[in-house]
Subunit: 267 residues, 3 copies
Amino acid sequence: MTPKHCVTLLTDYGLEDGFVAACHGVIASICPPARIIDITHLVPPGDVRRGAAIMAQTVPYLPAGVHVAVIDPGVGTRRRAVAVAAGERVFIGPDNGVLSWAVADPDIQAYELTDQELWLDPVSATFHGRDIFAPVAAHVASGHAVTSVGTEIDPDGLVRLPPPARAVHDGTAAGEVVTVDRFGNVQLSVTRADLERIGARCGGTVTVTLGRHSLRMTYGETFGSVPPGELVAYTDATGQVALAVNSGNAAQRLGLPPGAHVRLTAE
Amino acid sequence: MTPKHCVTLLTDYGLEDGFVAACHGVIASICPPARIIDITHLVPPGDVRRGAAIMAQTVPYLPAGVHVAVIDPGVGTRRRAVAVAAGERVFIGPDNGVLSWAVADPDIQAYELTDQELWLDPVSATFHGRDIFAPVAAHVASGHAVTSVGTEIDPDGLVRLPPPARAVHDGTAAGEVVTVDRFGNVQLSVTRADLERIGARCGGTVTVTLGRHSLRMTYGETFGSVPPGELVAYTDATGQVALAVNSGNAAQRLGLPPGAHVRLTAE
Amino acid sequence: MTPKHCVTLLTDYGLEDGFVAACHGVIASICPPARIIDITHLVPPGDVRRGAAIMAQTVPYLPAGVHVAVIDPGVGTRRRAVAVAAGERVFIGPDNGVLSWAVADPDIQAYELTDQELWLDPVSATFHGRDIFAPVAAHVASGHAVTSVGTEIDPDGLVRLPPPARAVHDGTAAGEVVTVDRFGNVQLSVTRADLERIGARCGGTVTVTLGRHSLRMTYGETFGSVPPGELVAYTDATGQVALAVNSGNAAQRLGLPPGAHVRLTAE
């Protein structure tokens, strides 16, 4: 197997401790040429859905390699640790769904991480990122066959997160908030294609309903399609519809956390 | 052109999403040997002046290479995307002034990024960091001539931020707060030379006037030149005068945000 | 001397300024092949004990190399700048104890950084991380002998932080809070061996006394050893006893900052 020298990391470890560095150190020790790309380590603690969403939206822009995601509230319990081979990519993490939105390839093989020769010794009960996931990723990055990280398992048995709610009927596109980014931009599960189906056109107006409130706003190209301080709906860089305030914070303005339900209609 | 394998990034993307990683991934895919140095990604959203100040103060310590700055509230509108060649350095970003304080070399060439062959396809309307700036930077880092990133433009037409206010007359050095760092140290536009001109000498006392309040403090070498908890004025690591509290936070104590005006006199 | 191309950095510089990047730039300029691992830059400003604890817990997982720690409230005063050679590792930082818990090897040599040829010129009074520690580390990483960074000094004269309080007697293990991590897990100075000496066994119950309050909780393997929302004591990934709330934040629940005293008894 050709070495895959790019290892990417996504965790909820935060940046104020040495946890991420320990993972980097383990990887660099086992696979010195590895390039390590930190996707983020600021996923809210234990927020598997948020981790899954960031993985799915970021991985397409990363070099082929080994993609580790450790949002692992069940660390040390019976949840499985797995590797999923999908074309040129190998995904490694707990089998709790955090990988499930990123693994787009339907033709995958899955393995439970059972070969303890690839782990650190001893293995702690609470830091499998350092002791299991990082060293296995580094071995695979060094050219160790993913088929030899442990027992092959049925990919259909992997835990899958239910996708965000999303439906179009009677001229209404319904969905939910998937993520809120640093700018307060509110990404919805509704897609550009959904808006086309309900007759929205770029430059026109849409009505967004949140609970009992309805707001009219421009469906524009970008933030600057409306004056500063005004709301805008737009298709974001992942192809999904998002709500923003030009030079402002839409999540704060609208009070919209991840999971909140929204409905859109066009004029 | 010799490859410039160092690419540096400054943005306001934050660290909780996958935005920075997507840029890293794009660069690593196009230019695998690139070393990527993150200057910071925590510039307050849209704060072009703050980004410009950090660029200017950090770039002199970075290896020659490609320096990308994306503080870009006008993304997707008609603002230009540019590359500026200055000696061994190439600066890339939106033409809104964020690069203007870092480009110290008077002998520069400028180009508008118009060669779409160097961009990702498709290009989103809101994430030019990933889709335009990162890939163009990576191509230049790989040896692609900066002269071929697009149309040459007149450097005199580049947007320049007005420099921070600063004046010396009648024994008073007047200026403004440029940045406040993590420690609460308050960096002024006033320089060591300005203080020399008004007769301040290291070890002596200066009076700092903020609005209607005046404060006397030591003009010392470093934080420890005064007892813990006391104010000190000093020349900081960029050659500018700054105010600190030894083992404390001067910005909180003084209530001094960036842009606030100050006057200094010597005794 | 064989080059040690791994340089690690721990500081309290924060991530919102360009300070860390300036250090990276200096290192990459002097030693282009260096791999730089950031341990953390979010140590609370001036918190030498916290920096020392993170260094001690992280360094064992890092490749041999040069380990720089700059928590340096006395920068620019008479505190010494030192390098400590300990086997395959070289530690560099201010002589204020920040390195003292990480230097486990009893057979060490120590040097004061006095060879100004290795420093940047000029040296600022307040940013020795950039101007002294980073360039010296980079020269050592490039193969410059650590014996030539300056004057050899007596290792017994290095500043050592007193270790966290810890004692076992009369069936009670007493200690203090060492660190609180991002998850709110509270790491104690008490060790697994201490708990064994007082008769605690994994799966049993311990009583934790904080001031006048006592709390009974399971001494379990991991967070998931108790139901969500419940307290658990466990042996953490460094071999020390810690308190957590499964899917919650023990530090917030218990109001336990670093330094707080605790006592544990077994049932």
